[in-house]
């Protein structure tokens, strides 16, 4: 099913690990050179920057070519445009296959963009060709769910075939649109999405157990993390609600919008899920799942007050900050006090130079984005300090 052979991808992984290890000083340069020669790869890869730019220019070229076709057809009907779009989907997919199988491009930007375009053209084409002429109805017809369903199936296929993680994410996003065609009940919609993700999670959990420590382990780890996050977001009615901004800060969102048992059931679940995800991540030593466990734990703290209908306080973020910092310091100290700085197979020490690199990049970016300086102010002498619209570190408009 996968377009790249397992041995090719395993070899690429070995080469990547060798580079990391020599960078961290675990291998001598001469060792690295010898071992690298023993792991030749026929796949063409590039660095992340060229990959991004190639992706961008492929999207641009394909999008412009599609536009050019429509212009040549001079004001085509929606159906005609839909058919052209479907043809483009087929051409893009064929080109992506050729780029990966013939030119051996691997995460090169080009084949990825072509695959992404094929999903986009397929959905847009189906919508335009089959459903564009229908009269408006507040309750969409179930048959129209064919479009997001096709998006789900094709995105999953792209994910399996090319191993592109974001295609899986796209499939998860398409799933969100499905239940809207089937039922008008908000409870049922949340439930259907959560059930889809849970089913996916079961499948992934079963499949990934066969891939411990091989090249697919990391990919399945990320997919599992996405699914846990998806389930959490589907059941957290405060986070996943569309009119979030209206009710978020004042805590006035009423439980009456949903059936009471459902509403309080989800409240119980949002407290149950973070420890389950964290426990699973720690048990599997899975970085992505641990990260999602931490994220959903924070989201639970943040969304608890709106859930209960309690008002927020200005000191809530401070308390959260103290909690996060306290947990981090406690965990670090607890781990460091273990024999050799290790407890139950976990350490707070840095084992890879890549961690430091990530922190350096993050430090530069977040430092630039941080609210660090006073902003220009109105010159009125009776301007009052206050308002609290932006918070932050002092650079808000009300400072």
């Amino acid at each position: 099913m996968r377009i790249y052979s397992a041995s090719s991808e395993e070899t690429l992984r070995a080469r990547k690990l060798l580079r990391d290890w020599v960078g961290d000083g675990f291998l001598a340069k001469t060792q690295y050179q010898r071992l690298e020669q023993e792991t030749p790869s026929e796949l063409r890869t590039t660095n992340i920057f060229l990959r991004l730019v190639l992706f961008l220019f492929t999207l641009l070229s394909v999008g412009a070519a599609f536009g050019l076709f429509l212009v040549f057809l001079s004001r085509p009907s929606n159906q005609t445009a839909g058919v052209v779009s479907l043809i483009f989907a087929a051409v893009c997919y064929a080109a992506a296959e050729a780029a990966a199988s013939q030119a051996r491009l691997y995460r090169y930007g080009i084949e990825e963009a072509l695959a992404v375009c094929s999903v986009g053209f397929l959905c847009a084409g189906m919508q335009a060709a089959f459903f564009s002429g229908r009269s408006y109805s507040p309750q969409p017809e179930a048959i129209q769910s064919m479009v997001p369903a096709a998006g789900v199936v094709f995105s999953l296929w792209i994910w399996r075939r090319f191993g592109l993680l974001y295609a899986f994410l796209a499939a998860m996003i398409f799933v969100i649109f499905l239940p809207g065609y089937w039922t008008s009940s908000h409870e049922a919609q949340h439930l259907i999405v959560a059930v889809f993700y849970a089913a996916g999670l079961v499948v992934v959990a079963v499949v990934r157990s066969r891939h411990r420590f091989d090249y697919l382990d990391e990919a399945y780890s990320a997919v599992e993390a996405f699914l846990w996050l998806g389930i959490y977001l589907a059941i957290n009615l405060q986070v996943s609600s569309l009119n979030l901004s209206m009710h978020w800060w004042d805590g006035t969102r009423a439980a009456s919008e949903f059936a009471r048992p459902f509403y309080w059931g989800t409240w119980v679940l949002i407290w149950c899920l973070p420890p389950i995800v964290l426990a699973r991540g720690i048990r599997q030593r899975d970085r992505f799942v641990i990260a999602v466990g931490a994220i959903v734990a924070v989201l639970t703290f943040v969304s608890n007050k709106p859930y209960l209908g309690w008002p927020r306080h200005t000191w809530d973020p401070m308390l959260l900050g103290i909690l996060l910092t306290g947990v981090a310091i406690y965990l670090r100290r607890w781990l460091a006090r273990g024999p050799g700085g290790i407890r139950n197979g976990f350490t707070a020490a840095r084992l890879s130079g890549k961690d430091k690199q990530w922190i350096n990049v993050g430090a530069t970016v977040t430092g630039l984005l941080s609210p660090q300086a006073p902003a220009p102010q109105p010159s009125s002498p009776d301007f009052r300090f206050g308002g609290g619209q932006t918070g932050g570190g002092g650079a808000g408009g009300d400072f």
Binding site: L27, A64, T325, G362, P371, Q372, F385
Partner: protein, 314 residues
């Protein structure tokens, strides 16, 4: 063949020692599993949430709490943070220095953010330098540069660079006429100052590992400034020429130093600049789309050639 099997094979062939094999196999299996990155992210998020909450409290309750209490709280946190940093820091070294404790960088970051908040509060309440906010930014930038170099901290270096950029921006916001042109000139001056400063500091071996941060910021500000010049209706010629030179320099630097971010900058900014010139005044949809197809494919070919020649390493 998985990496674990390969390692076993390499050990049997004597290409890696048994100790190396055991260590590398352990790393592959996540034994031990490092939580270094996660704990750092948690610390950073904690500091940011705390400062955000503090700012929200100050802006909401300042009238009820009174200036004295607000300033006392802010000053106490500021003093405690800087006391911690100055008392724990090892002797200064021009080379890269590891932080003396895991929370050190975040305490310094907290202190820097509180400094900004307190300055903003003082100015807004007491108008000490009314209308001269740029001086606050300049003073903050100077302090942050000092702290960044004293404690070898990239968080604070980025704060310093953005404060300096803010100072340039605020200084010219007092000028009402021809603001765009003035902004461009000041952006170029900022690039010159930061670029030359960074290069001199690197040559002097003063925290040379900071140079990458300087260069990335300078490259982006420079390209934005030059692009904004290319977009003007008249007199864009010199800006376009400067953009081409900057793109050439960026590509050359990126390829020789194998820093492909600079190749990407040149490709994207250069393409936008050149396209804006080609498409200037063109209203025919077909011509625009045709140009985008042809130029997009040309860029792809050029980038693939560059990638094949230079950029195979991920």
């Amino acid at each position: 063949m998985t990496i674990l099997t390969r390692l076993e094979q390499w050990k049997e062939q004597g290409k890696v020692s048994p100790e190396q094999c055991a260590h590398l196999a352990g790393l592959t299996r996540g034994e031990p599993f490092s939580l270094f990155l996660e704990l750092n992210v948690l610390l950073y998020a904690g500091v940011l949430a705390f400062v955000a909450g503090l700012g929200w409290n100050v802006s909401t309750w300042s009238k009820q709490l009174g200036d004295g209490l607000v300033l006392t709280v802010l000053s106490t946190i500021l003093a405690a943070s800087f006391w911690y940093c100055f008392s724990r820091a090892p002797a200064w070294s021009p080379a890269e220095t590891p932080a003396p404790s895991p929370i050190f960088d975040y305490v310094l970051y907290l202190g820097s953010l509180i400094w900004s908040m307190e300055l903003a509060y003082v100015e807004n309440r007491f108008h000490v330098l009314s209308g001269q906010l740029d001086l606050y930014l300049l003073a903050s930038a100077a302090l942050f540069f000092f702290l960044a170099y004293r404690f070898d901290n990239r968080f604070v270096l980025s704060l310093a660079l953005s404060s300096l950029a803010g100072w340039f921006g605020l200084t010219i916001s007092h000028w009402s006429a021809h603001q765009d042109a003035a902004y461009r000139q000041y952006a170029l001056l900022y690039c010159l100052l930061v670029g030359v400063g960074g290069a001199l500091l690197q040559r002097a071996s003063l925290k040379p590992h900071f140079f990458g941060t300087y260069l990335n910021i300078v490259a982006n500000v420079l390209f934005w400034a030059l692009l904004s010049g290319v977009f003007i209706r008249q007199g864009y010629g010199p800006w376009f020429l400067a953009l081409l030179i900057a793109c050439g320099a960026s590509v050359a630097w990126g390829l020789t130093r194998r820093q492909f971010a600079f190749v990407a900058y040149a490709a994207v900014y250069g393409y936008v600049g050149v396209s804006s010139l080609f498409l200037r005044g063109v209203t025919d949809q077909t011509a625009v789309l045709f140009y985008l197809v042809v130029s997009g494919v040309a860029m792809l070919v050029a980038l693939v050639l560059i990638g094949r020649r230079f950029g195979r390493q991920a």
